[in-house]
């Protein structure tokens, strides 16, 4: 019974969180946004004391139930493990293994240290929620997008406007590679031994495990009834039941209730307990895993030559825009500063998948690996949109309103004279000025002495908020004649 409730809740949670990462309409965030906000590490980073206290209390009372019904990566491992059991019927079973405490506490220690040193991007790799987010965004989301586009094509044929198509593109190499690596490692570990990751690497698992040693309710082996048959140990995906000694390592138990069902004698019960001793010695060891660097995208381009005959019709080729070399990266409004973002971001990609304008993408910079940054080749940071700020569960991007957004300066526009079509083609353009939402660009004669000379943009850097409309809509390709330089610290203008 309790197991069934656990399974139902877990399935609901993993579906909801996946949907949160897949949905691009913003509807899922409205209903399910809180699910990301009750994740442990994001809540800590958001300094969300309420949620953190609740999760700690929950663990102290019920054990590591968080790992079974709230953590999406945990649920994912349970699914893999369950499938593995189904497919190798009878052949596979778990077995007890002693706790690898030196590895667990070592990892936790290193990650805390690394976090204090400001290398948040390394912590982000191991955060279970973010790891799950990256897998969904990098691997599942393109499929979802394509599926949606098929549906949109169909809707178009039916003259329906209910479904619209979206751009599907690989936003960053690092999250993709890491997502594949995570998927492979986690799947292999879960397929063979259940919750290995949770009880060796996962910093959240280790921390909650430390608490759950003292939790009020625990699965308990009834020593009188137990005949050390080992059935419960074979069903324990956390490998924490030592049936010979008739003991359970509560620091590793994720309260899945699987053992209760297997004991033929009803010897396992979930109940309040009387405390016993348990030991564990932290040990420090070097970390593992190498970092991966991102690969750059090559954009092929071909020049168009106007057909001599000027036949009617046809579309000119549009060269893709390339990312300009920004001295300071641009982070979305609400991030407050690059430092705030890097301190709090777990690189879960929720903001990236929420961005409807194709602006946010994971950074390939090592110090901010996979954390969001803005670039305007495919769209610009639209004035009415605040989706990333509302989606962020960690407070790396703080919630803002569209009104606030209109006065947050995340960077400023810079003019590159040599790229401007006024010079390169001698045509009057002014598209940057026409689309600047804050009126920070004025078109002025290029020759101060000659009023009738061709006009070029003059930027009021103080007024500019760095939304990138000018950069995105500049006709100069592949490099815009006007682009945005980020600011370390965001200002209110």
């Amino acid at each position: 019974m309790v197991k069934r409730i656990r399974v139902i809740l877990a399935v609901l949670v993993i579906l909801s969180i996946s949907l949160l990462f897949l949905d691009f309409t913003g509807t899922a965030h409205f209903w399910l946004g809180w699910m990301a906000k009750i994740q442990f590490l994001p809540a800590i980073l958001a300094l969300n004391a309420g949620v953190v206290l609740f999760l700690l209390m929950l663990t102290l009372i019920l054990g590591r139930i968080y790992c079974s019904i709230i953590c999406p990566l945990g649920i994912f491992q349970d699914i893999v493990s369950w499938l593995s059991g189904k497919l190798q019927k009878g052949k596979r079973h778990f077995s007890y293994s002693p706790a690898k405490s030196w590895l667990r506490y070592g990892m936790l220690g290193i990650l805390v240290l690394v976090f204090l040193l400001g290398l948040q991007s390394i912590v982000a790799i191991f955060d279970p929620y973010a790891a799950f987010g990256r897998m969904v965004t990098s691997l599942l989301s393109p499929l979802y997008g394509w599926g949606n586009n098929l549906l949109a094509d169909w809707a178009e044929k039916m003259d329906s406007y209910a479904v619209y198509s979206v751009d599907v593109w690989i936003k960053g190499g690092a999250p993709l590679i890491l997502a594949i690596a995570t998927l492979v490692v986690i799947t292999i570990l879960a397929w063979r031994n259940g919750r290995t990751y949770c009880n060796t690497i996962c910093p959240v698992g280790t921390l909650l495990g430390f608490l759950s040693k003292y939790s009020l309710f625990v699965p308990t082996l009834n020593k009188e009834m137990c005949i050390s048959c080992g059935l419960c140990a074979r069903s324990c995906k956390a490998s924490c039941i030592d049936s010979k000694k008739k003991e359970i390592d509560y620091s590793r138990c994720v309260v899945c209730f699987d053992c209760m069902g297997t004991c033929k004698r009803g010897g396992v019960t979930y109940q309040r307990r009387s405390f016993k001793k348990s030991t564990s010695t932290p040990q420090v060891d070097t970390g593992r895993r190498a970092m991966l660097t991102a690969s750059a995208l090559l954009v092929a381009s071909t020049a168009v030559k106007a057909a001599k005959k000027h036949v009617d019709g046809g579309l000119a080729h549009i060269e893709d825009k390339q990312v300009p070399q920004r001295q300071t990266p641009i982070v979305p409004p609400g991030a407050l500063s690059i430092q705030n973002l890097t301190r709090r971001c777990t690189a879960c990609q929720l903001c990236v998948s929420a961005c409807p304008s194709q602006v946010l993408r994971p950074s390939s910079d090592l110090s901010r690996l996979m954390m969001p940054e803005s670039s305007f080749e495919r769209g610009y940071c639209r004035p009415e949109c605040t989706r990333c700020s509302n989606a962020c569960p960690t407070g790396a991007i703080q919630p803002i309103t569209p009104e606030e957004k209109s006065s947050i300066q995340v960077g400023h526009a810079v003019f590159i004279k040599n790229n401007c079509v006024a010079y390169t083609r001698g045509v009057l353009c002014g598209n940057c000025a026409r689309h600047c939402p804050v009126g920070a660009i004025t078109m002025v004669p290029s020759d101060p002495k000659d009023e009738s000379s061709i006009k070029i943009p003059a930027i009021d850097e103080e007024r500019c908020i760095g939304c990138g409309a000018c950069e995105n809509l500049c006709p100069s390709r592949p490099f815009s004649a006007i682009y945005v330089e980020g600011h370390e610290v965001h200002k209110i203008v």
């Binding site: 949109a152 094509d153 178009e156 003259d159 406007y161 619209y164 198509s165 106007a306 057909a307 001599k308 005959k309 000027h310 036949v311 009617d312 019709g313 046809g314 579309l315 000119a316 080729h317 549009i318 769209g379 639209r382 004035p383 009415e384 079509v421 083609r425 045509v427 009057l428 353009c429 002014g430 598209n431 026409r434 689309h435 809509l473 006709p475």
Partner: protein, 482 residues
Amino acid sequence: MSEDNKNDNKTREGRRAFLKLLGGGTLLASASLIGCHPNKEKQGNTNKDLVPAGGMTYRVSSSTGDKVSILGYGCMRLPTIKNGSARDTEDEIDQEQVNAQVDLALAQGINYFDTSPVYCKGRSEHAMGIALKRHPRNTYYIATKLSNFSSAYWPEKESKEMYYNSLKELQTDYIDYMLLHAIGQSGTAQDGTQLNGMEALQARYFDNGILDFLLKEREAGRIRNLGFSYHGDIKVFDYMLSMHDKYKWDFVQIQLNYVDWHYAKEVNPNNTNAEYLYAELEKRNIPAVIMEPLLGGRLAKLPDYLSTRLKQRDPEASVASWAFRYAGTFPKVLTVLSGMTYMEHLRDNLKTYSPLVPLTEEELSFLHDETARLMIEYPLVPCTGCQYCMPCEFGIDIPSIFTHYNKCVTEGYIVKNTQDENYRKARKTFLVGYDRSVPKLRQADHCIGCGQCTFACPQGIKIPDELHRIGEYVEKLKRESL
């Protein structure tokens, strides 16, 4: 689906929509019908008898005595293998389909085929050459043009090359109807200077001696009729007609439809009322060939309240058929051109013109006074989709943007403010439909306003202004700040 296909499908859907109306009989005949369509007398459980017994109506040219079918086949949007129109896509022309349509057209009495070296991205003449070669040369008339729009073709040698190439592509040794193409339009000289209508005319046909060359070709019999098609600057039209005694124009091609009759200026300040153009030709006894009888398809897709009125008058006739009958009703009209991409276009037009039932005085006035007046009160962009503005150097898909905008106007999806009753639906329809019809990078907000397209537009639309206006509307919709 490729972006290019969409437009064609849309045109087709529009067509289909009214054909559906036609067959569905949503508006059943009322007892007192004013129209006099021949089908009405007959009884039957289908409406399949496409060509009534009377057969195609013909007009005799006062210049050469040619007996020309009142329906002329416009070859500027031939079908492609992907079921689009070859004017809008790079897809290969569906030669088999072209052949089939030409066969049906000839069998049903159409004998005038109008093409140009620039139509269908320069592929129309070739395809028509293949299709027509399969029939005896004396059973049809070929019309083509000297389409030397680009200044690269202004020198004598290049212009002549274009002419000889037409003969080669069309696999013939004479042209029945040769036109100076779209005179009255402004042009751009090789050094980039903008020429007005008269200057462009001089540069394209007079300075290089090409008109003299064509006149000689006419004397030699390799051109049987010489004329011109006209758009734009009225000075050029008047000048050309004033030279009629010298050049003896055998025919002139003008834009005529029930909106342009009285309201050409309202549609577009550069244009002149068809009433004037037609009267000038009639005065000089010059046969008129009619282009844009549907005003770029707009008269086939009228706003609902207007199409309903036409349906009430004749529930079995298509909306487009009214415009075709209108153009054909004028006695000096030699032929009415229709760019028929699909078999159903052809069938519907054949039905209208076999035989043509001329409009009554009352019907004429109903169309060019009442209906046209209501039309121009509707703020559509007067784009006919001719694609002369394309390709835009900056990649903007100008005609598709206008098509989408006009479609939304016609269907009532343009809103004034957020309080409008259908605001939500209109916003979604406009924005989702916009992204579907025009790829983001080719939308109006990317127009820099360089204005090069304006010179190419035969309708004289201030394209950048219109694009910026539409761009602003989209921006307001997106920000919900209407």
